[in-house]
């Protein structure tokens, strides 16, 4: 029997039982739609967790002076002075995987405004520091490269400092505070960040151009640390390698020398969080996969019922010349038509469902092509697998018995 005849026969048989064919298909439709929608939700949340991580500065790289040996004595890293503006410029110029870099020169001091004072930390940074640490200006402006060049006496205040120096709620922008003996004009305030994951108050801070700290307060050319951000989380490792290479060169280290600096990333944190969201995706996919298998069992069930119910039809077909293989193929093609049609409808429904979820609930969803291809393949295979046994049962019927079947 030709393939076209086969498909025509199977279609006609399905048409005779439209409702039943549709209900069987529904199992597959729901299964496929569930897989696609669930994977879309899983991928979407993974992506949004990752972008939130980036917002926290997960692609941040910290460069610290390293402990080194000096005459047999290991010296504490922070007091070791190796990082200078030359390093910052070199990284800025040469590192391809680094999007921003800023030196940090910090000191502690007593901030004074009127009758109030507050001990806090003064951080001298470049304007790019705001990008690297994802700091946002709440009020006023940030300082610029021009301010850095002139070692301008300007600053941006963190919320904790504001709370303690300006308790009445007046705007600090435009006011002049003093840090130790240096007057600094407040040009902006930071959006509060809260505590860091280590319990540190990230808002107890005053930011000022690094030159201001270096020249007017500390009188040094060295930095405590350099902050940089990789172009993406994935590029953290390459960025680390690049920075290491660049710094070894600027520090003129011989191949045998130990690094006199260390480069740290947030990689561990990223790994933990993204493995959590991968787990979520796997979990959702497994649940949806189970529903697809149940849909397949639905097909098998209906095909078995169908074979029993149509025993006389099978007997008749055999008596007018259908071979066993013709009957087998007919039922198999019926099962495949159900599962493939169900698969197509399921894909459309799943993609639509993902879009609706995004629109209605605001959840981020990403429909991945692989989930469409995979679930469609699985459901086509489901049709063959679950349709084969009932079809084989049909093909093995004895025509005499089948014709007499009541």
């Amino acid at each position: 029997m030709s393939a076209i005849n086969l498909i025509r026969i199977a279609f006609r048989a399905l048409q005779r039982n439209k409702l039943r064919a549709f209900l069987t298909m529904l199992g597959i439709i729901i299964g496929v739609a569930a897989v696609i929608a669930m994977v879309a939700i899983g991928e979407g949340s993974k992506e949004s967790i990752q972008s939130q991580l980036s917002a926290m500065g997960s692609n941040m790289i910290t460069i610290l002076p390293s402990s080194n040996v000096s005459g047999g004595v290991r010296i504490e890293g922070a007091s070791f002075q190796t990082l200078t503006i030359v390093d910052v410029k070199a990284i800025q110029r040469n590192a391809e995987h680094v999007s921003a870099v800023s030196p940090v020169s910090s000191t502690k001091g007593q901030a004074i405004y009127g009758a109030l004072n507050w001990p806090t930390s003064l951080q001298g940074v470049a304007p790019s520091y705001f990008d690297i640490r994802k700091l946002e200006i709440a009020d006023g402006v940030s300082f610029t490269d021009a301010d850095v060049a002139t070692a301008a006496k300007v600053c941006v205040l963190g919320q904790t400092v504001i709370n303690n120096l300006f308790p009445s709620g007046e705007s600090p922008v435009g006011k002049v505070i003093r840090l130790n003996a240096i007057p600094l004009q407040v040009i902006g305030t930071l959006v509060p960040k809260g505590q860091s994951s280590f319990g540190q108050d990230q808002d107890d801070i005053i930011l000022t151009p690094y030159t201001t700290v270096q020249k007017r307060i500390l009188a040094t050319i060295y930095f405590q640390s350099i902050y940089a951000s990789a172009v993406s989380e994935g590029a953290s490792a390459q960025a680390t390698d690049e920075i290491t290479e660049i710094l070894r060169e600027t520090h003129r280290l011989r191949p045998t020398d130990e690094n006199n600096f260390q480069v740290r990333t947030m990689e561990e944190l990223i790994k933990t969080l993204s493995s959590t969201s991968s787990l979520l995706t796997v979990l959702l996919t497994a649940i949806a996969g189970i529903s697809l298998v149940i849909g397949g069992i639905g097909i098998m069930n209906i095909m078995y019922v169908s074979v029993t119910e149509r025993t006389r039809e099978i007997g008749l077909r055999m008596s007018i010349g259908a071979r066993g293989v013709d009957i087998l193929l007919q039922f198999l093609v019926e099962a495949i038509i159900i599962s493939v049609t169900g698969g197509i409808i399921g894909v459309v429904l799943g993609v639509t469902a993902a879009k609706v979820i995004t629109l209605a609930l605001g959840w981020p969803t990403i429909v991945s092509e692989s989930s469409i291809v995979l679930s469609f393949m699985v459901c086509a295979l489901t049709g063959v697998f679950f349709g084969y046994y009932p079809a084989q049962a049909a093909s093995r019927l004895d025509p005499i018995e089948a014709l007499r079947y009541e």
């Binding site: 029997m1 025509r8 006609r12 077909r317 055999m318 008596s319 007018i320 071979r323 005499i400 014709l403």
Partner: protein
């Protein structure tokens, strides 16, 4: 008439039921020539059904030879039997066995689907011609539930005719019908026979056997009588002699 369509030579068929062996046919021999209208009669348990299954190539004899149109059925595989049924035999059943919710035309087309050498348009032409032959040309799109019992059986006969078989094999084809409709079906059978179709008609009603040209009587697995009917009754005349249908 020496063109033999069927040749049965000492056909035996035994069934093993647990430890017992049931001998349904105990050596049946007869020939059927082209253009004959043979009825096979017998009471329940006479082996009539077993013989019918053998004639229809649905079953194979335990012993003896059965030649259908010169082909020895005993040597054929299951698939070859299926092909033989498709090309050489037209079945008509007591219960019509039409596919439900399927038009008369599609029901008649059914055997042709298992013949890959035909195109869709050839299939349709043949089916329409077969339905014309049973005077149902105006009922092509009717489903079985929209047809009377007699009309359904005529669709079934059209289905049996459509692949131009060498023999039409009818199994109690009038069993589910009233007298008037039975006569209509027999009249159709006689017309087909006049056109040259060989018909083997299994029945237990002597009334029906009277319309055939020859009757083979089975009892207890053996042929007990094989008589040529000299005085074939015309189904059309019988139909006309019936009192007009009572209108309640």
């Amino acid at each position: 008439m020496n063109n033999k369509i069927l040749e049965l030579q000492q056909i035996k068929r035994e069934f093993v039921m647990g430890t017992e062996t049931v001998r349904a046919l105990k050596g049946v021999s007869f020939d059927v020539h082209a253009g004959e209208f043979v009825t096979i009669m017998g009471s329940s348990g006479s082996g009539k059904t077993t013989l019918l299954n053998l004639l229809g190539c649905l079953d194979k004899p335990t012993a003896g030879n059965y030649l259908l149109d010169g082909v020895d059925v005993g040597n054929l595989s299951r698939n070859e039997l299926a092909r033989l049924r498709n090309r050489k035999i037209g079945f008509v059943f007591q219960a019509y066995n039409l596919l439900p919710r399927t038009s008369a035309l599609e029901n008649v087309e059914l055997p042709l689907f298992y013949n890959p050498s035909l195109t869709a348009s050839e299939r349709k032409d043949k089916a329409v011609k077969a339905l014309e032959a049973v005077k149902l040309a105006d009922r092509l799109d009717h489903t079985p539930s929209q047809l009377s019992g007699g009309q359904q059986q005529r669709v079934a006969i059209a289905r049996a005719l459509v692949n131009q078989p060498v023999m039409i094999l009818a199994d109690e084809a009038t069993g589910n019908l009233d007298t008037r409709t039975s006569y209509e079906i027999m009249s159709l059978m006689q017309d087909l026979n006049k056109e040259g179709k060989t018909i083997v008609f299994v029945t237990h009603e002597p009334d029906i056997a009277a319309f055939s040209s020859r009757t083979v009587m089975l009892r207890d697995g053996k042929v007990v009588k094989d008589t040529v009917n000299e005085n074939v009754r015309s189904a059309r005349e019988a139909l006309e002699s019936l009192p007009p249908a009572d209108d309640y």
